[in-house]
Symmetry: C3
Subunit: 205 residues, 3 copies
Amino acid sequence: MRLRLRPVDTSFYELFTKSAQHLVLGAELLAEMLSDSADRADVAERMRAAEHAADETTHEIVKKVNSTFVTPFDREDIYALGSGLDDVMDMMDEAVDLILLYEVTFLPPELSEQVSVLQRCAELTAEAMPRLQSMKELEDYWIEINRLENTGDKVHRKMLANLFSGEYKTIDVLKLKDVEESLEGAIDAFEKVANIVEQIAVKES
Amino acid sequence: MRLRLRPVDTSFYELFTKSAQHLVLGAELLAEMLSDSADRADVAERMRAAEHAADETTHEIVKKVNSTFVTPFDREDIYALGSGLDDVMDMMDEAVDLILLYEVTFLPPELSEQVSVLQRCAELTAEAMPRLQSMKELEDYWIEINRLENTGDKVHRKMLANLFSGEYKTIDVLKLKDVEESLEGAIDAFEKVANIVEQIAVKES
Amino acid sequence: MRLRLRPVDTSFYELFTKSAQHLVLGAELLAEMLSDSADRADVAERMRAAEHAADETTHEIVKKVNSTFVTPFDREDIYALGSGLDDVMDMMDEAVDLILLYEVTFLPPELSEQVSVLQRCAELTAEAMPRLQSMKELEDYWIEINRLENTGDKVHRKMLANLFSGEYKTIDVLKLKDVEESLEGAIDAFEKVANIVEQIAVKES
């Protein structure tokens, strides 16, 4: 363990936790967007607000790392984790936006499966962030995220095979492929966050 | 302010300025490409030359950072800024290329709106680069780029909604979506450059 | 030359070489996938195994860099090279996967040209990795990769022009464009690896 010359600012952990909590809300809004009765314009507007709030938290992290003398772990890892969390939000926001803009009428069940994966990833990430302070019990988190990413990958492949089975009109293939790729991108972004956490934990151990 | 043990090489600022000036030319060529009377093959060839010139400036920056003992700001920020500027050029070059290769016949007005945004971004960036030396009056630059990116985002969403309104043949949706995504990518790349400049300015202040 | 306080661990070079050898296998499997008589499901399964093996080598590199006191070159360059090699594999794996999932029936000759470029890139990269130890005769490698990337770029543009010539059904344009973009992405990823090697060599010289 390294000797600390002055007390480390604990609010980094709070900011990462806040950032991950925005993702929990984002994933919930995504789920709401997929329901048949959704007021899509309204959900998209709330998603936009959530995305702005997430942006602000990211800015707080960047500002804090630039103005703090002793950071709890390497500066570049703090940047990477902050922007990694932000990337997830951007992908979820994009998915909501595309469903609205493309006026997607039929939403295949695979999309709901992906959003369930995203909701689980968001909860696990929000639960793990406070544990960065003790660096304890993080391994279960990143193993589970990697498992969820594998599930998402299987769903993604099933979705692509269905899309190109000849059942869909080409314009709908184009639309649904874009929506699905945003969701898959969000899952990949969660995995990237877990990889960053793993790397931080390995360095600190 | 940090104490400098030897005079800092000023040519970094000149190289960044040169790099941004290539982007001004690139944005002009893009605008030319969109005009009805354009000799597309000729414009694309000049764009290719501009992109090569930009590549060379990027290589000069990388070579200089690797051979300079005292750099005006962190090495990784110099890399990030150099490659960030280069990314803009690549996206603009791609847009020109796709218009040529896809033989796009109808160019919706949104594309011209995006190119106007790009031209303004390029001018502002080229004007801001020399101010990196004094680190003064940079805030207006990055605020304005962020505002322009918001404008570009609104145009992008309008363009997508139009493309998927049922008015276009699917093959044309495919073509125009690719062109539009290159333009949007170039605007995003300008925003990324502005974010890097902001980060450098915050560190130095 | 820098003074070394303790003998440098040579197994980094071995791990990079191993990583590049996975790419040689990956490129061979891609070539096999394109042949008319291929058992696609079987080739895709072997590709998946190769991709997993490559992942493991990447993890070994990351683990080693995190647990080694004196690394042969900068830690961030080791990360960049390790993940750069891994990115190539991901793109080749994606290409194989898409051919399987999309049930692509007609494979235009440009795809085989791209795979030949990839096979040559993989061989050159695998031959170059052991030379990182002496830092000698690396220049030919990165020059040749850059030349191959130019060839790939020409093939890519020819492919896009053909795809949008009106000869193909839109659904097939969509499929083949995705496959082609994975191949082009793999070639670009090889170029990025060569750029990282160049940067390492410049720093060490």
